[in-house]
Amino acid sequence: MATASVPFTRFISPSGVGPLGVSAVLGAWTLIVILPLLGLVLWSFLKLENFQLVWEPTLQAYRDLLSSGRWEVTVRTLRIAAIVTLIELALAVPFAVWLAKGTRSVPVKVITLAALTIPFFLSLSARTIVWRAVLGLNGPINSALMSLGLIDQPLDWLLFSEFAVIVGLIGPYFPPMVFPLYLAVTLIGDELLAASKDLGASPAFTFRHVILPLALPGLGAGFIFTFIPMIGDPVVPELLGGGQVVVLASSVKSLLQVLNYTVAAALSVFMLAIMVGLAAILALVLRGRVRRQST
């Protein structure tokens, strides 16, 4: 009997990406992300003499980091990021719960979600610079306070201060906190909320024992999307801090401007370590919670 040609079959992964594709992606990733990072780490263990790299390992850059008051910059950066993240949490949690469960009106949801996205169409600098006019000595806030007779001198700490930086950061980092939270709360079934109420729970009890634990993954994602990028964000502190509020990202920039590459590299490695450390702690905490929920 003539043999029909058996079609040659081989394994095709569900995503349709073959081994060649995978290695291409991995190769590109190594080239674009891993190599520069390794370079950064390598440089942080070298030193500069007469603007020339000296190729012998040393901790000089890290010693310079500690002695040059960068410690204070680190603490300030973390403090600002933490305060803004807490403010975002306080604002975003009730907002997300309202948007996901509080309103049944589809137009309200669509318009609100659109309003949260539109700011991304404008550059961050353009959005931030507006605060200078608002918070300035002759700005509307100072004028209003003075005409109300609450103060007789304009408040000078409104602008070019840590306060101004915090106010300026709240807006841009609100959507990245709200979106994951909104999604997480949307996924909580209405029947669960009805059941909680039916069993006698007040809204506060339901929030604490049903909504919050079930929205925890969204909370974690919101934290990662706000706190961590804020540590690396120089734009708002520079525009509203007016040189008074130096954060890590600006510090790296100024080191690069004076061509102090090794200390800049050390500082970058230090920032990276903080971010990876925070993300790891968060992942561990969340994994513990999620495992408890699913076993």
């Binding site: 909680s196 039916d198 699913s294």
Partner: protein, 370 residues
């Protein structure tokens, strides 16, 4: 299956009374002038197809929704119309159970006790006792996702029962279970009802569940209660066309009243004369257009002079179709009335093309035309 006589008769005292309840969603009327009472210890079923308003009515009783307007709404004698769900002494078993996925079986059962600030050891004791009652003895620490549908159902029951509510509300609780499990759970719910002596209000679209389990059934359609009564009343004596159709009377014909003799009514269908019982609310009058209805399984083949006596409705019939269903034979036969459906349980061996059929006037209902 449980017989009606085994169901304990409810006490006469009303635990819930609702009069003239209306509810609207925007322009849509969800409930129209609904009045009902529930006796202490009663098993009351709200029966109806989807969209009939039965679940909405249950949510009103639970307090999860507030009626647009209501005359009287009392629970255990206290006015409840404006009291939210978390302050009402009733508890709901939801259609999809509404179990908290992040809590264990035991924590789910304890939830209501936790809300009421019952101390931890007492909470645990009561939860374990209730889990024993629903036959989930060793499941206290299990996560919800590791349970089968039937087990989740029991957890939901335990979670509600542990609060000892005045009324347990059940919203199609067996809808998501397979046939065999559903029959088991019916029996178990009945035995729970008997053991606890609690009042149950049960929502279902299945007439079989309603007939099996209830003391009393409220049949609902389009937001109104169309008939209320014991299972036997609804099954044998539907008093309107919707009830007759819903309770499975396959033979319904439009007719005209020609004679009234006490409760027994003579009617003509396409010129053919037959007799049945008047079940409608209004008084019948000669000449009124009405509908006449009877069940397919009450129609018999006539042998010799007829087994059902001289006053039976009896007609010549011609076989149109027959479908063998194993336990019985479904037959459609043409007669002077029109096409009559028969369900024959023992006669499917001999069936010629021409035969006579008969059924009792007491198994025939005459109802208003609408």
């Amino acid at each position: 299956m449980t017989e009606t006589s085994e169901k304990p008769a409810p006490a006469s005292e009303d635990i819930l009374a609702i009069e003239h309840l209306h509810h609207r969603y925007g322009n849509v009327t969800a409930l129209k002038d609904v009045s009902l009472t529930v006796g202490r210890g009663e098993f009351l079923t709200l029966l109806g197809s989807s969209g009939s308003g039965k679940s909405t009515l249950l949510r009103m009783i639970a307090g999860l929704e507030m009626p647009t307007s209501v005359g009287i709404f009392t629970l255990e004698g206290r006015p409840m119309a404006q009291v939210p769900a978390n302050h009402r002494n009733v508890s709901t078993v939801f259609q999809h159970y509404g179990l908290f996925p992040h809590l264990s079986v035991g924590q789910n059962v304890e939830y209501g006790l936790h809300v009421r600030k019952v101390p931890v050891p007492e909470r645990r004791r009561q939860a374990e006792e209730m889990l024993r009652l629903v036959k989930l003895d060793d499941m206290y620490g299990r996560p919800i996702h590791a349970l089968s549908g039937g087990q989740r159902q029991r957890v939901a029951l335990a979670r509600s029962l542990v609060l000892k509510p005045a009324i347990l509300l059940l919203d199609e609780p067996l809808g998501a279970l397979d046939e065999k499990l559903r029959l088991e759970m019916q029996i178990e719910l009945l035995s729970l009802h008997r053991t606890l002596g609690m009042t149950f209000v049960y929502v279902t679209h299945s007439q079989e569940e309603a007939l099996t389990m209830s003391h009393r059934i409220l049949l609902m359609s389009n937001g109104e209660i169309v008939q209320e009564g014991r299972p036997e009343d609804l099954f044998d004596r539907p008093n309107n066309r919707f009830a007759a159709e819903f309770m499975g009377m396959e033979n319904i014909f439009t007719a005209k009243i020609t004679g009234i003799d006490g409760g027994m009514i003579s009617v003509t269908v396409n010129g053919a004369l037959l007799r049945g019982l008047w079940t409608g609310k209004a008084q019948p009058r000669i000449g009124d257009p009405v509908a006449v209805a009877f069940r397919s399984e009450k129609v018999k083949l006539v042998r010799d002079k007829g087994a059902l006596g001289g006053d039976a409705n009896r007609f010549e019939a011609t076989l149109k179709s027959r479908v063998y269903k194993g336990k019985y034979l479904d037959v459609v036969a043409a007669s002077a009335l029109g096409d009559v459906r028969l369900r024959l349980w023992d006669d499917h061996v001999v069936l010629s093309d021409q035969f006579k059929i008969e059924w009792r006037p007491t198994n025939t209902v005459v109802i208003p035309i609408d």
